[in-house]
């Protein structure tokens, strides 16, 4: 009886593996087929001869490296700023005694409930007036702003738990607050900072709607927007679209392949603390 139950559970879990992974596998097969094969043969057929040409088409026609580079640049600048800015605020919230502290905390908490889309139109007007619409700043700045609430929350939660004795003795030795922050607090806080990095990376790397709203210059588009572009331009070349989607998924899949445990842990930590 117990083994029957166990068998059923394994069956269920295997079916779920198929439903979660098969579409992605199908996409890879799709990307290696000719148009005729995609349209003509049945869905589970494998490509007769892999059409690597689809990948060359996608790579050549789609500014892949350009978009990838833009994504890397925007994401890394955002990450650095989020870490620096939010850890400073988190430290002030968790360690300093000041009247406005609780209010500032509340303001950041509120931010987690605000739907980003509601800010698109006003932000566009603001950016236009500041003459930074359609520049990288029009992405980096809101990305930082929308990433800080959860970051501040995670980091301040951690910093509250750091024993005060460490800082006390450093203070006695004449270290300034800045020094304590830089040489003691930040190094101790590496684990929650990693959580913040993972959460922010996944969100920003995949962000599409702000990029599509604020950016129109070809040379500034990030990868998700670039993918969307490529698909609408090459709508008849199915194989190349498939290839571009695979190329688009590749960077984040590689990162996930090497860091899956860290990423899943980070995402849970982010969810639980958020």
């Amino acid at each position: 009886m117990a083994s029957v139950k166990k068998g059923l559970v394994y069956l269920l879990l295997s079916v779920l593996v198929v439903t979660q992974i098969y579409p992605l596998f199908w996409l890879i097969m799709y990307s290696l087929k000719t148009n005729e094969q995609i349209l003509g043969s049945s869905f589970f057929s494998l490509p007769t001869t892999p059409q690597w040409g689809n990948y060359t088409d996608a790579y050549k026609g789609g500014h892949y490296l350009k978009y990838l580079g833009n994504s890397v640049l925007v994401t890394s600048v955002t990450l650095i700023c989020v870490i620096v800015l939010s850890s400073m605020v988190a430290y002030a919230i968790s360690r300093f005694r000041w009247k406005l502290g609780p209010i500032v905390t509340l303001v950041f908490l509120l931010g987690m409930m605000i739907p980003m889309q509601a800010t698109l139109l006003p932000l566009m007007v603001i950016f236009k007036n500041l003459h930074i619409l359609n520049t990288r700043w029009s992405l980096i700045l809101p990305y930082i702003a929308f990433s800080t609430p959860i970051a501040v929350f995670i980091l301040s939660g951690f910093m509250r738990g750091i024993p005060a004795e460490i800082e006390e003795s450093a203070f006695m030795d004449g270290a300034s607050v800045y020094r304590i922050f830089r040489s003691i607090i930040l190094p101790i806080s590496v684990p929650p900072i990693m959580t913040v990095v993972i959460l922010t990376f996944i969100t920003i790397w995949n962000e599409y709607i702000m990029a599509a709203t604020f950016i129109s210059a070809e040379g500034l588009k990030t990868l998700p927007f670039g993918i969307y572009n490529f698909v609408s331009q090459y709508n008849a070349n199915f194989g190349a679209i498939g290839a571009y989607l695979v190329l688009g998924a590749l960077p984040v899949m590689l990162v996930y392949f090497f860091l899956s445990e860290k990423i899943t842990k980070g995402m849970v930590a982010g969810a639980v603390k958020g």
Binding site: V9, L12, L13, V17, T19, Q20, I21, P23, L24, W26, L27, S42, F43, L85, V89, R95, F96, R97, W98, V104, V107, F108, G111, M113, I114, P115, Q117, A118, T119, L120, L121, P122, L123, I126, P142, A145, T148, V152, E167, E168, F171, N206, Y208, I209, T213, P224, I227, Y228, F238, L245, G248, A249, Y256, E261, I263, T264, M267, V268, A271, V272
Partner: protein, 296 residues
């Protein structure tokens, strides 16, 4: 010394850069949005103050508003309905699979991909037969040719197809959260229950599920708030079409603001969206306070 007493200037150095950026780019736009919602303002005419007229039009005349509210709430209901299933599966995994972490990280793969990729992938899956859609291919090979449809262009099916993609993408996310929660229940409790004669499904019912309420709540809140903001997936896959059949509050707002260029009207919809998000966050927290008080 638990907290440092530092000069105001130091606090300012630590807090202001981030706070100003954050207020300027998150709070100010919301306030501006609320103000703009009181204007009759489009791309051609100068803005004119009209009080609450936009809201009146939205609530009583906009034939697309209430259906998109309904779809947004349905989105939330479907997303939340997935979570008990995830908890159930998490409990099963915890009992029957020794090293389930690998399994969970496989289920998690769709979560890390961009909605643009997920959306395009599923668009090709839903494609009509003559365009090589996988779903129709499966149905045909099962001899169910009469069931094939052009899924995303038939208003009857389009929205359900979108709900499904969302469920598919976030299944791994919620399963991961629930599994982590279930794993953290101390083993001693199960051992004590075993002595009292509760094993298997009985121990799930009396121990796992009640003890998972806090983590269950986290998933519910995430799914709910996420669905209220449902935008990217719909935008990438259908843009709200065919004939508004898949519009949600946010896509309706985006359409009005950026395609119809009715800025005032779009801002009023944005204001309503913010209000609904804040309202439901409060309601959900209230409900769970009651539930938690009952079970713990």
């Amino acid at each position: 010394m638990n907290v440092l007493k530092v000069p105001a200037r130091t606090i300012a150095v630590f807090v202001l850069p981030c706070l100003l950026l954050y207020i300027g780019l998150v709070f100010v736009p919301i306030v501006v949005s609320v103000y703009d919602s009181l204007l009759d303002w489009d791309s051609i005419n100068k803005a004119k103050f009209i009080g609450l007229d936009n809201f009146k039009t939205i609530l009583f005349e906009d034939t697309n508003f209430w259906p998109s509210v309904r779809r947004t709430l349905m989105y939330a209901v479907f997303s939340m309905a997935e979570i008990p299933i995830c908890l159930f599966i998490a409990a099963l995994m915890n009992r029957y699979v020794r090293k389930a972490n690998t399994l969970v990280s496989i289920y998690f793969v769709p979560v890390i991909l961009s909605v643009v990729i997920i959306g395009q992938l599923w668009k090709t899956i839903y494609n009509p037969t003559e365009m090589g859609g996988m779903l129709n291919g499966i149905l045909t090979s099962l001899g169910l040719e009469s069931w094939t449809h052009s899924w995303l262009t038939e208003p009857k099916f389009a929205m359900y197809c979108l709900y499904f993609v969302s469920l598919w993408q976030y299944f791994g996310y919620h399963l991961l959260i629930q599994y982590t929660g279930v794993q953290n229940i101390p083993n001693e409790i199960y051992e004590a229950a075993k002595i009292d004669g509760a094993e298997g499904f009985k121990s799930d019912w009396y121990i796992t599920y009640p003890m998972a309420v806090p983590i269950f709540k986290i998933s519910i809140v995430l799914a709910f708030i996420g669905s209220l903001q449902a935008f990217d997936l719909v935008w990438v896959m259908t843009g709200g079409g065919p004939a508004h059949a898949t519009d949600t509050i946010s896509t309706h707002m985006y359409n009005m603001s950026f395609l119809s260029l009715k800025y005032g009207y779009g801002s009023a919809l944005a204001t309503i969206l913010v209000f609904i998000c804040l309202l439901f966050t409060v309601v959900i927290n209230f409900v769970f306070k009651k539930v938690e008080a009952k079970y713990t």
